[in-house]
């Protein structure tokens, strides 16, 4: 597929059109390969390229160099993922490249959350966007005994290192 075919097929206009028409040869080939692999809508492609360009600018890299990174390449060439799944997975990988520290904190919080869920059957949620200092636990009970069970679990949970870790991560400690 050529870039012009994609432009015509998706009726690409506005800023994406000028981005696609300004691509250097090697970048253009990489974007064509990406389009073939994931068949994105114009909006989806624009969102992905915005992330790619920000990474390029921050790291002083060319667009085709970012698209050739193993984490990106592995998603695009994955044999078992559908095109939609590849689009979603690619966005996650690009966001992890664009926001490495945020991604690292999120991964650690998720790990702590999973540990608490596994040990106590309680889902401890971090605040939206990691903004705030409040963890949330939601309980549903059918009896007073269940209340008592949860009270015991919460007591144990409060002493578990994973719970303390979640607070520390939120506070940037």
């Amino acid at each position: 597929m050529e870039i012009e075919d994609y432009i015509a097929e998706k009726h690409v206009g506005g800023s994406l059109l000028s981005i696609l028409r300004r691509l250097e040869a090697q970048d253009s080939r990489s974007v064509c390969a990406l389009i073939e692999a994931i068949n994105p809508s114009a909006n989806t492609l624009r969102g992905l390229l915005d992330l790619v360009y920000e990474i390029c600018r921050r790291d002083a890299r060319k667009l085709h160099e970012v698209l050739a990174l193993p984490v990106v390449h592995d998603v695009v060439r994955h044999e078992k993922l559908s095109r939609k799944e590849k689009q979603k997975a690619l966005r996650i990988e690009l966001e992890a490249l664009r926001y490495p520290q945020m991604n690292s904190v999120r991964c650690k919080i998720n790990a702590a959350q999973q540990e608490l869920l596994r040990q106590f059957g309680l889902r401890v949620e971090a605040p939206k966007d990691l903004e705030g200092d409040t963890l949330t636990v939601r309980l549903s009970v059918r009896s007073l005994n269940e209340f008592a069970d949860y009270a015991e679990k919460l007591k144990l949970l409060s002493r578990h290192p994973a719970a303390g870790e979640m607070f520390k991560l939120l506070r940037g400690e």
Binding site: Q101, V105, E131
Partner: protein, 371 residues
Amino acid sequence: MPERVFVVGDAAEDVVAQRVLSRLGAVEVVNLDSDDDPLRAPSGAGAGEESSHISLGKRWLMLKRYRGKWLKGCPGTLGHVCCNLWVVNPGEGCPLDCTYCALQHYFRRNPTLKLFTNTGEMLKEIEQRTSAEPRRRFRICTGELTDSLVFDHLTDLSLELVPLFARLPNAVLEFKTKDCEVDNLLTLRHEHGGKTVVSWSVNAPEVVEQDEALTASLEQRMNAAALVAEAGYRVGLHFDPLVFYPGWKEGYCATIRYIFSRIDAENIAWISIAPLRYHPEQQEIMLRRFPESRLPLVENFLAKDNKLRIFQPLRFEMLRFIWKELHAVRAGMPVYMCMESPAAWRSIVGGPPLAGTELAEIFSRSACCRV
């Protein structure tokens, strides 16, 4: 120095306008009937057109009368702890060119620099308002919508403001600047009465070098700070914005060490610390106007107040680090966080700033105590 000056209608009769024009010397002067900005962007103008107008606007100057209310509360930001600063704006826009400056977005459709020529009315309003509420402590800053001192050699406004505040029992004046223009202030060493605080915006050396075009160097700022401190003024510092970059800890430590090698910590009236935050539309302006800057590429997210902010764990790490470094210089250093969440105060300081509204009161009181 501006390349072109626009004088609007009756502003030409004002002493301030005549003083500015005489000091500018040979400059193109255009008289206007309308006070519309000559660079006013048409509705629907794109970021490209706006960006080029912003750059041109920094070289044009409009002299006009201000028609609105002068003294206002700082708008603060939704859901964040506010220090209850009051602001007056003797002008709008700034000839300095910092990559992160909020004014380039705020005035993107009206980017010509402006100086108001009826500042006598501003002084009257300050006096009337503060005397009408004698029990309230006012900390009033002139540096919200422009640099407080960058035009002082043209306007001499400080020569009127400083003596006025010396007479006001319940108000403190704050100049906030990145310039080193303090000649007028030094002539008032016996008249300021300890009621004027001269504040400098400071940053890590790498940020000053790469993201604060046309400003005085950190050394020049601290030279000026040392001079005003020697003249009996108290000094404020604003670590704003705190910028994340590789090596930020070393950079900010170097700045703190340098500052306190030049100024006695006892002369500090207050220090604010505030991580980078800006309106999302400003991102496009920054990327266009400063293609070399890495600053728009930090790890930020769109917060509830519709500003891009550094994500909390990193933001808190930065705030905690600077907070500790400043308190290591002096245990009781009057540091506050500007536009931060209650969670930040709990996590970094251990509690809210003395039940909220007292923060401004404390700072005003501590400055007044020097009288």
